[in-house]
Amino acid sequence: MATPAVELLKELEEYKYGWKSPEVYVYKAPKGLNEDVVRKISELKEEPEWMLEYRLQALKHFLERPMPNWGPDLSDLNFDEIVYYVKPAEREGRSWDEVPEEIKRTFERLGIPEAEQKFLAGVGAQFESEMVYHRVKEELERLGVIFISIEDGLKQYPELFREYFGKVVPYTDNKFAALNAAVWSGGSFVYIPPGVKVEQPLQAYFRLNVANIGQFERTLIIVDEGAEAHYVEGCTAPLYTTDSLHTGVIEIIVKRGARFRYTTIQNWSTNVYNLVTQRALVYEDAHMEWVDANIGSKVTMKYPSCYLLGRGAHGEILSLAFAKDGQVIDNGGKVIHLAPDTTSKIVSKSVSKGTGRASYRGLVKVHKGAKHVKSHVVCDALLIDETSRSDTYPYIEIEEDDVTIGHEASVSRVSEEQVFYLRSRGLSEEEAVTMVVAGFIEPMVRELPMEYAVELNRLVQLEMEGSVG
């Protein structure tokens, strides 16, 4: 635990309820999805013809493709009730001074400390489906790093963009990837040149701001040979009365000898369907790590994946799920070993509270010819109440003999003995349970940058409030 339970309690009040900035936009699409909406999005974004064609093909696929017949229940999700595009009034800012006051307030409400707001010089914040503020730090520019909005990526680097866009996650991958491909808007475009090591995490904050908007963010990241970087994405969202949808697609290419980590802290409000496809192609001797913390949403389906394509590639997925009353968080990870001497690790920690249900769903696949593969999967579930549930779906498919695969799974409850021990030292029952939970997720929290670790602990603490007694 980065900060002790008791000390943080008083800081939590302001995080208790979602808040909402006034809606400011110049164009808002009508509800529902059809060809006209897709054409309008592409037109407003002044896209090249190939992108419009791509969107339309994806739309066709989306409409034809049935809903997934596995996983959480999505029957309450009504695609006709969703607004697929909102264009904000503000244009993208170039410097901190130009950032609209309202958005600065947004950052403040998110609890980002003063000092860090300056640090935000290198941050892209998504506001109402589009990058409003974006300034690449001078240091990044000097290094030749590209960190811009996905729209600017398409405009400014058309060849690079087209070479990789939709290649890691084709729209035929799944129904929601198809939806995203049809209506995507907002997200980041990142390129790290060969051998460049970026010390500071590249950060983006996301926030849903208009009721019923599906956010369809799209991010494309190319980490060239021998480069190193860390991208962090965190989001908190206001509460709404009607269902919302967040369907993102994240595509990452980690080239030979490069190292990349992508961290998400997801805290959508509990009416949001969060259905995200994240995939990385990992080449020879490259390392890819997904750190994925899911706290919010009504339903989350998210399985970050690594395709280990070159000899010696390494993939790692650390996922954390915290499901409270009524939430279903179905997450985990996939690693596909396609080359010899590749290694992988999946560590999943899930906490289920009340009627919450946090499950692990994962796949380790070893293709024929991928010799000397080593993979280890650990999934630990912690149940807080009698009504809490956790399921584990650890799929393993192996076509090669010469492999070492380990799998460990555990389900535990917060034990009476632990709670009594902590109470005997003066902690209340709630503080005691919170401390056990915080300790359980500590190995994950430790992997996060400091400010996110603090934020995550706060969120967990908030979720635990009023949970006992």
């Binding site: 002790p4 008791v6 109470r423 005997s424 003066g426 902690l427 503080e431 500590e442």
Partner: protein
């Protein structure tokens, strides 16, 4: 005036059977009492019940401390009031460091007493002082509570908690078991350093050895849920020489 912890006619049972069958014992601040007795006599049960373990049912009796029957209080309220139990089998809390845990515990107690929270710096200093007293490596504070600790480390960690929380009454349940000779010495020195007019101890043990270091004022023997003999330190010597069987025979006549 010295506070007392007054155990009166305490009867305790689990679902299956009665374990404590009318325990009477009065501890005063400033005194050290030793509680001995064969395995299964009910010593740990007494310790747990004093602290408020939810797994036991008190069917009769009361425990008066600071003018109230503490059996009606929650465990944390008893801790705030000044009670402490060093567990015979301390529980692991993976992922929570000793430092964070103890700071939270100390602040919870201070808050209940209407005191200001202790600052991180002050707490650090306090913790380091206490660790030095117990000859503990400062790195120990960063380890997860009882997680993967050796038997001896667990016992030392209990005494460290005692030292930081400074209770008025401390029950030490076999804190001497599993300690090597040097560790026993250190723990005993620690207890002696914490001994004083404002603190009372109930030291549960099987061995006279610790009582050579921590001289008790009184020794009690519990058998089958009752205190069957009480006396001065010489009772421990007698026990050591004769064993429980003979002593029992003497007592029962």
């Amino acid at each position: 005036m010295a506070e007392t912890l007054d155990i009166r006619n305490l009867h305790v049972r689990t679902e299956e059977r009665e374990i404590l069958k009318g325990v009477n014992l009065t501890l005063r601040q400033g005194e050290v009492h030793a509680l001995m007795g064969p395995n299964g006599a009910g010593k740990s049960t007494l310790a747990y019940v004093l602290m408020g373990h939810p797994g036991y049912e008190v069917t009769e009796g009361e425990v008066i401390f600071k003018g109230q029957n503490i059996l009606e209080l929650e465990p944390e309220e008893r801790a705030h009031l000044g009670l402490f139990l060093a567990f015979q089998y301390p529980v692991a809390v993976p992922g929570v460091t000793i430092a964070n845990f103890l700071r939270a515990a100390l602040n919870a107690k201070r808050q209940a007493q209407g005191l200001e929270e202790i600052s991180i710096l002050e707490f650090r200093k306090l913790l380091m002082d206490k660790m030095r007293l117990l000859k503990m490596d400062p790195a120990f504070a960063g380890r997860y509570v009882n997680d993967g600790f050796s038997g001896g480390e667990k016992k030392k960690a209990e005494i460290l908690q005692l030292a930081v929380l400074e209770p008025e009454f401390a029950v030490l349940d076999e804190t001497d078991s599993g300690l090597d000779i040097d560790a026993l010495r250190i723990v005993a020195d620690g207890i002696n350093a914490l001994r004083g007019p404002e603190r009372g101890f109930l030291v549960i043990t099987h061995y006279k050895r610790i009582l050579d270091y921590v001289q008790p004022d009184y020794v009690h023997v519990m058998v089958d849920g009752r205190i069957v003999a009480s006396g001065g330190p010489e009772l421990a010597d007698e026990l050591e020489a004769k064993g429980y069987e003979n002593l029992l025979a003497t007592v029962r006549g």
